[in-house]
Subunit: 720 residues, 2 copies
């Protein structure tokens, strides 16, 4: 078990706010249905060790604690104030707090930016007061906070344990759901929770950074509806995921969900597949199902990461062994190949009918001696070909199912598993069909930090995330190539186009690509029919395509502006005349710059490369296979810039139909290093010229040796 | 709630065996670690009402019940015997039972066919004895049986309730896992369980049929490692699924899992995607994750089916509303569009900030009045555009989270939900984050038959399966077109080829297709160069392809046997000579029948049609998109024969890249009715000629108007 935890250096102002020396509760109430009561109750029941100052002019005391008529009258210097009163009162109260030197305020009320123009105005006023007095704000519209290791709990949740899962959730119900699941589990606990609310002042990224620094948090777990500053989030996620796991559930995976999400939170939800790719690029463990959040957080919090994805399975029944093998394979994990030595040791330990091939099925060998399962786990754990160990079956239930006399041996088995897990750097995970009834051996495992799941599917999901995180960490420091430097030629090309209020023409786009080391075909721009003889000569022996070049014609084929497969001067001259005629017929006022003559691309694998500036995440690269089917299947990969070489390689590996790049039906594979260079090249270009809004290479034809950029489009930011 | 249950007419011999008047336990034991003890304990603790006769020569009584030294000495006529003794004793004991007139025997021992040749011999001997005496056998190697409505339980499971889920499981641990999950749920119960074991006599299909007939079973739930007679299984599944839901989990979804499964059971596991398609064709609800089995069985058992897939969601928080919307959409369900009238009623009932658009978010309206959620459910249930109702959020937890004083209203809400569910033919399903802690309102719902889930994902999976089953039932009686009748011409073609010990040549295959109404291109077989002039004339103006025809050359392209895009007599003559030369060079001894001249197919959408005889499921049709990418993605659909028109149409709809058939990138859609006719046509052909082993049309090019069969292969069964 990876018991050492790393944390980012302590810089966040939130440490003081979330472990305050004392707290004023403004709007504290004796009415049990009010949040001003709940918060008081949470502080008192939770055993908060600081002083609590209820502020309420209408009452003398709450829960036996003296109340004060106003914040001004509280006799001590205050570290934090919780405001439970309605929105309209908040700006004034913040000023009051500011005057008393309060450093942080938590605001529960809704009725701000999420409620239209009037609310937005109120939120601005509140923020202005906070800035004027140097007060930091959590909320408004927060579902609350807790920091259980400081016994600071404004949520009054029952039965919640202090533990290693830190949570930031844009849904209060989601936190509640995780807390109830944890209560049911019995051994899972939390460090800090924050409901970020409207994030007027302190934002999502600040909370994530805090969890990265917090010494009690071993896994940061986020429920996200939308990112307000996605680019900064990715940067913070990258820093935090370097030291501890970051688990994100992003809601709005479908258009329907996004619609529903935006009607509730007003947060901008980007394309889900893109968001997932960018989060993973930053080392985040993305979970796709809400009921995976807690199991994955539990597993990553406890076990941190696996050295790799080769899993050894010990099973005491064929059925569950098969299910585990199926799920492991589907999740991209591998069944570890056990060494001859390991198998021989297993065979010595087990009955003849057992299978020593992974998944190992003890086939009855443990019926009278459940601790034998621990022995098998020790044997496979020692195999260098094994990265993690999964026990599946009825462990914990032997003494219930077979005979009570087995309890002693079963507890010895649990103890051996705990020792193994503590001594090993390889994760040890248990699925037991007895997990729902929590027998003593399983309680012992959980209490000692060995995760026990009631579903093979969840156990495998956890192993997959552990393996993914291990692989991410193993990639080590990633360095993106230095951005390209804009060249004078490139600047001139762009200035020229901008001066004319247009984007780059195809030959200009290709010239800019060539200027920065990207292979473009040997092409010729023909501006007058008189040049055709010489051009035909230049391409002698090579069939060519001719394409109209005009800032006013973007659908060249529709305009009759493309003719393919031409050879010889006569053919070129005919095509030239035809293109000119068609283009004028299509749009009489179109400015025609000329006709581009380009060699016909040989057959290969069609791919697409795109770059855009996402409003949330900034510059993003897209790579995918081209053609009709992939358009239908939307089989593309995304990465945020700057792009490392590993990022680029990962895009090729990620495609569902990626096998096509390796060659199918006897075709040769494509030149992957050249494609990777291309991706790195366009990314550097995008960084060198901030005025480029979009870049599209579609299609690029990839060959066993190099590639051909068949069409290129570069869209510029509109000048002011 | 669909409270009426239908059952198949009572025919199965298992009714008597699984509700026996009395039972002898041969090998009954007082040792708590023995199954002969477990079974006795199960009978006694379970309250079995028949007489129990322990048979054991070494003891006077077991659990206070008089024991008998041998079966011969038991003083009564016996309905059933349970044999708990080792394999070697079984054949003799069955003979003894037979002599005493016992009608059925359950055999626990392993060590038969699954253990090699010696075991197989023993199993044959056992079966011969059973047949000789007319004794029916459950097992051997069975994990046991129970029939809880008759208090007949050989498994001695604690806390198991009688209910409506019937289970057949090839893994005893899986049954145990379901039982423990049900125990934890508290309200889910079982009717009959059977572990089929080696199925020496009574097989899987017999058990399924029994569950279809059993009046206490409202859902048949099967864990399957392999099908020994898949074709018969599909037939039985079709009959049972017509009256009640059939839920199947098929293990071995991956090659790794299949390997692991076959090493444990020896059962033949076919291709997983094919198996899933064929099961669904027969009306089975296939679940893909083992932790979905019980939730889906519970939901289908209680609610049977939904009228359709349009779900109305009532939520008391934005987070869970969004998650529900995402999962519903991903599962192929639709968020119902609520009528103006429904929305107006909701708006009257709710606060201004609530959203009356589905998913309905009450946004705090229910905080002080949880029964308002029931009111909202009543409102949306009445909307004719709604097929099922899903409540998500914290219902059941209001009185715990907000104030105990809400308990009365919360229980009234639960009661209203129960009444709604009972009165409605639309399923009502609840997700609550309080499900793990089982508060009173949720206990009331479960006890009254309203399923409550602790995971939105599981709740949605259940709604999806209810909708799928509803759609299946709505398709009604499906009639496959009458099989084609073999024609004299067709028979002659096949006889001719068989006489030569070969499969059909391409032109013969196409002739057979044409004979049975399938459009094949106008082609010509050229056997001598002298025919080329006339053939060139016949195809004047149309480019053609030429392909070698030889029983000895199956990879025509590799042999240089294909030339494309030819026009005019000279080109044909050149190509003919070239093909002959290449073919001889490729295989000097190849019998060359001639060269097929066929018009070049215009561009269209490439599809593939295949038929094969699966060793388990019999004749199976495959349909998919052609081309490189789909080969990589394996995007194909399977159906067992006979094929109904609905089956054929379903294959087109099922493809992941099926949009291509509707036309993408401005292309016209293909002629789906023609493709459906083609699928029906080849299926009928396969049935008309049982000697056809395999049929492959690859590719077929589909057009907006018709299709072209570009290549056809028909493989014949080898003559004895």
């Amino acid at each position: 078990m990876n018991t050492v935890t790393q944390h980012l250096p302590r810089q966040s102002p939130l440490h003081a706010l979330l472990a305050p020396e004392n707290i004023a509760v403004i709007g504290a109430s004796a009415d049990p249905t009010k949040r001003g009561y709940k918060a008081m109750l949470g502080l008192v029941k939770g055993g908060y060790r600081g002083a609590v100052y209820p502020v309420n002019p209408k009452t003398a005391s709450i829960l036996g604690i003296k109340a004060w008529p106003s914040i001004a009258e509280v006799p001590t210097a205050l570290a934090l104030a919780l405001i439970c009163t309605p929105a309209a009162t908040v700006p004034g109260l913040i000023a009051e707090c500011g005057r008393r030197g309060v450093k942080g305020v938590i605001i529960l009320a809704s009725g701000f930016g999420e409620m239209g123009a009037e609310g937005a105005r109120l939120e601005q006023e509140m923020l202005a007061q906070a800035r004027a007095f140097g007060v930091r704000l959590i909320g408004p519209n927060t579902s609350g906070v807790f920091n259980l290791h400081h016994r600071f709990n404004l949520l009054a949740l029952d039965h919640i344990k202090a533990g290693d899962i830190g949570v930031v959730s844009q849904s209060g119900n989601m936190l509640l759901s995780l807390a109830l699941e944890a209560e049911h589990n019995g051994e899972v606990g939390f460090s800090t929770y924050v409901g970020p609310g409207n994030q007027s002042d302190i934002g999502f990224n600040d909370y994530l950074r805090y969890l990265g620094e917090d010494e009690h948090t071993r896994v940061a777990t986020l429920y996200v509806e939308g990112f307000s500053d996605g680019r900064a989030f990715l940067q913070t996620a990258r820093e935090v995921s370097a030291v501890k796991p970051v688990v994100v559930y992003k809601s709005g995976s479908t258009a329907q969900g996004q619609k529903s999400a935006s009607s509730h939170t007003g947060a901008l939800a980007g394309s889900y597949p893109m968001t997932v790719d960018l989060l993973r690029q930053a080392g985040v463990n993305v979970v796709q199902y809400s009921d995976d959040i807690l199991p994955v957080a539990e597993g990553l919090g406890r076990l941190q990461h696996a050295p790799g994805k080769r899993v050894a399975v010990i099973a005491d029944g064929g059925g569950q062994a098969t299910i585990a093998a199926d799920r492991l394979t589907e999740a991209g994990l591998a069944l570890a190949t056990l060494s001859e030595e390991t198998r021989a040791m297993l065979e010595t330990a087990l009955f003849a009918q057992a299978s020593s091939v992974n998944p190992v099925d003890v086939a009855g060998s443990s019926d009278a001696k459940p601790s034998l399962l621990a022995t098998c786990m020790e044997i496979v754990e020692a195999d260098p070909g094994v990265d993690s160990v999964l026990l599946v079956g009825m462990f914990g239930g032997y003494s219930q199912r077979f005979a009570e006399s087995l309890l002693g041996d079963e507890m010895r088995g649990a103890e051996a598993m705990v020792e193994l897990a503590n001594a090993s750097s390889k994760p040890v995970v248990v699925y037991s069909l007895y997990a729902p009834v929590k027998p003593p051996a399983l309680r012992r495992l959980r209490e000692a930090g060995v995760p026990v799941y009631a579903s093979i599917e969840k156990a495998v999901r956890v192993l997959a995330e552990l393996g993914t995180r291990g692989e991410y960490l193993a990639r080590g420091e990633q360095t993106a190539p230095a951005p390209a430097v804009a060249s004078a030629t490139g600047q001139a090309l762009i200035q020229h186009a901008r001066a004319q209020g247009r984007d780059l023409l195809e030959p200009e786009a290709k010239a800019l690509l060539a200027e920065h080391g990207i292979n473009v075909p040997r092409e010729r721009m023909v501006r007058d029919a008189s040049e055709l003889a010489e051009v035909a000569q230049a391409f002698a022996g090579t069939p060519v395509a001719m394409k109209v070049v005009s800032p006013d014609i973007s659908h060249k084929s529709d305009a009759g502006g493309v003719v393919l497969g031409l050879e010889g001067e006569a053919a070129l001259a005919n095509a030239y005349a035809e293109i000119m005629r068609s283009a004028h017929a299509y749009n009489a006022r179109a400015r025609i710059e000329g006709v581009l003559v380009t060699p016909m691309a040989a057959k290969g694998v069609e791919v697409i490369v795109g770059l855009m500036r996402d409003p949330t995440f900034g510059p993003v690269l897209m790579f995918g296979l081209g053609g009709v089917l992939v358009e239908v299947l939307e089989d593309v990969a995304f990465r945020a810039l700057p792009l490392s070489r590993q990022d680029a390689a990962g895009m090729l590996d990620q495609l569902k139909a990626g096998k096509v790049l390796d060659g199918v039906r006897g075709a040769a594979g494509v030149d992957k290093p050249a494609i990777i260079e291309l991706l790195l090249g366009v990314s550097r270009l995008m960084e060198a010229y901030p005025v480029i809004a979009e870049l599209d290479l579609n299609p690029v034809i990839a060959y066993p040796d190099g590639y051909a950029v068949v069409d290129a489009r570069i869209i510029l930011e509109r000048a002011e």
